[in-house]
Every structure is written in C-alpha cells, then in structure tokens.
Amino acid sequence: MGKPSANLKELLQQGYRYAMSITHNKSRAEDLLQDAWVAIMRADGPHNKNYLFSSIRSHYINQNKRDRLVPIVPLENEVEDLRDDLFFDIDNEILEQALAALRPVERETLFLSAVEGYTAQEIADFTKQPRGTILSLIHRAQKKVRQYFKGEFKEVKP
C-alpha cells in the first residue's frame, strides 16, 4: 500500500502554521485548515501552498466578516499606554502573549515574512494590499513584539 506523499503532509503542516498565524488558536486553526482543504478537494485542486494559503485566507475572511484582515491606518496621536499600570509575568510564554497581542493581519504578515520568507511585494500580491502597507505592518508587528521582550527585563511588580 502506498503512503501519502511527504509533500502532502508538509503542505498540510504549512497550511496549519499559516492558519495558526491568523487565528492564534489551535482549534480554530484546525477548523480553518479543514474547511480550506475540503474546499480544495471538492474543487479537485490545485494542491500547492499558494492555493492552500489563499483558500485558508478566504475562509477566514468569510467566517470572520468583522475582521477582514484589512489593516487599519494607525492614529497619528500617541495613545496612552495602559501598560503603565499593567504588568506581565515573566515566563516562557512571553512570545505567545506578544503574538496574541497582534491583530490577525499583523500576525499573518509577520508569519509570511519571517517564517515563509516572502518579500514585501510577494505578500502584497498575495493579500492584495499595497507594498507600503505590508512594510508598515511588518514594522509595527516587530515593534510590538520587541516591546514585550523588553518588558521581560522590567522588574515584576507583585
């Protein structure tokens, strides 16, 4: 009996990681991947990363109409940082929390850039956003994550 191609397994794992980057939730990522994969099966392919990622993205947008993965132009004014009176425990989940704090579109963009190695133009073409917007998203997401890492070295209040 033949075994499923290692390529297929890896394709599904890549799809799962991409779904995790958007949802930051294991169960939702699993459901999203399943919906996307079933849709691809019914359409009889193609079975490649670009199509799988597109399918995942489309399903997410359809299921979460409130959040269309559209970046919101940030306010020009400095917003009061409530974290002046908030504090985070220092533990191994600091990155988990940092990523949880990002918007889905920021996590997605950071994932496509840092993990998949896509250029800003490639991400722009995939998400149908301007290249400048993608660069801003990456920069903002990295900045937020760095802030959490910096917070790791602050004295923890009891």
Binding site: G2, S5, L12, R17, Q34, V79, L95
Partner: protein, 231 residues
C-alpha cells in the same frame, strides 16, 4: 534585538506548531487513495499526482464508502453542527451552572476562559441598553443585577467617561458590561459580576486575547474585568 534575531524566534515558534497526527490523517484520508493510485502514478511525487478526477468514482468499495461518508458529512456539516450545538445547549441548560463552572478547570484555565469571554464581548461591540452616565444612575437602571455596580478606586484619576452599559454574562453569571471612553477616545469595557468560589480563586493578572488586553481583579466583593484594544 535586531530583525534577523527576532524573525528567527518567530520562525522557531511557528515551526514548532504541528497539526496533530490524527487530524493530519483525517485530512489526508479525504484525498488519499494511494493504493489505487500507485499502480498508475508516475515517479513524480508532487501532490497534484495523488488526485485525479475519478477519485470519488473509483470502484474500490472501501474508498467508495469512505468517500460517500465524507461527502455526506461535508454536505450536511451545518445541520450536524447545529444538532451538536443544540445538544450542548440542552446539556448546559440541564446542568447546574456551578457544575459547569467547576468542571475540572485549573485557575489558569478558568482565568483564560474568562478572558476569552471578555474579549469576545469587547470585540462584539454590541449596542448599550442603558444610557446611564454614572454608577449612581446605573444602579437605578440595571435592576436585574444581584449585586450593586460600583466604581473602582483604580479609576480615580483615570479620566474615564461613561458611555452606557448593558447586561452580559461571565461564566454563566449575570454581569454588567459598562462602556467607558478615556481621554484619548479609546473605548474600554468594564465587566462586573458577583464573586463566587471559582472567580474568587482567580489571581489578579493581565491577559491578552484576540487583540484585547484584559485586566482581572477583585474589589469590594465583586469580580472586575477591564478590556481595551491591545495596540
């Protein structure tokens, strides 16, 4: 930390995320009939070669049955999901609320559940039911609450203004969601409910869920949750 190092951390984080093997097999079973394909596939191992148009029409009895069941499940996924939701709802309604709340959750798990509830309520942005402009007015309007909504000593110099309130629930208990706005125009939602044994055991802590920053604490016999956008 430079970009390269940061991206390295993020890459490692996501590459550690793996779909469970049982779920992977479930997905592969939707497409896999390699015992039928092997005899006529080429040595090209690309995913495209594992699927061809006659997959669901093969004469293999097992595959036909699996395909039929799969097709049935996919076609009827909404009614199956609705039935499952109805079953869960009936079970929950038939179960005393405290049993549900006390169902083997650690404090950390419960705190995260509560945070998820609060984040969901915050993000829903539902309309207010009461246009009270102060806690004094709120106490007169929200008559269904089994507690007295109060301000927190932490808000003394916070410059928060009332926008209104509505009923909501936290872990099955009736709660108040109070919509506030700070001096920068940022909306915050404050949640209050009666303390019970489980909520009382939760530590004062901060969480970030679904892009919402949530602070949980207890004050004057009530559970407090304060939510605002994380950015």
């Amino acid at each position: 930390m430079n970009d390269k190092r940061l991206n390295g951390h993020i890459k490692n984080y996501y590459q550690d995320k793996e779909l469970a093997s049982d779920k992977l097999e479930q997905l592969l079973s939707l497409s896999n009939s390699t015992d039928d394909h092997d005899s006529d596939t080429t040595t090209n191992k690309s995913p495209e070669n594992y699927f061809h148009k006659n997959y669901f029409h093969k004469n293999n009895a097992t595959n036909k049955k699996t395909a039929s069941l799969t097709q049935y499940l996919v076609r009827h996924k909404f009614s199956i999901a609705a039935s499952a939701c109805l079953f869960v709802l009936i079970t929950l309604l038939a179960t005393p609320v405290n049993l549900y709340i006390n169902k083997n959750f650690s404090n950390k798990e419960l705190a995260i559940l509560v945070s998820e509830e609060i984040a969901l309520n915050h993000n829903k942005q539902l309309s207010i039911e009461f246009s009270a402009k102060s806690f004094a007015e709120l106490r007169k309007e929200m008559t269904k609450l089994d507690f007295t909504p109060i301000s927190s000593a932490r808000f003394k110099n916070a410059g928060l203004n009332f926008l209104g309130a509505r009923y909501c629930s936290i872990q099955g208990q009736l709660a108040a969601q109070i919509k506030l706005v700070d001096k920068n125009g940022i909306i915050q939602t404050l949640y209050q409910t009666q303390l019970n044994d489980k909520l009382q055991s939760l530590p004062e802590k901060n969480y970030v869920v679904d892009g919402v920053r949530i602070k949980q604490w207890q004050e004057n016999g009530l559970f407090f949750g304060l939510a605002t956008a994380a950015e």
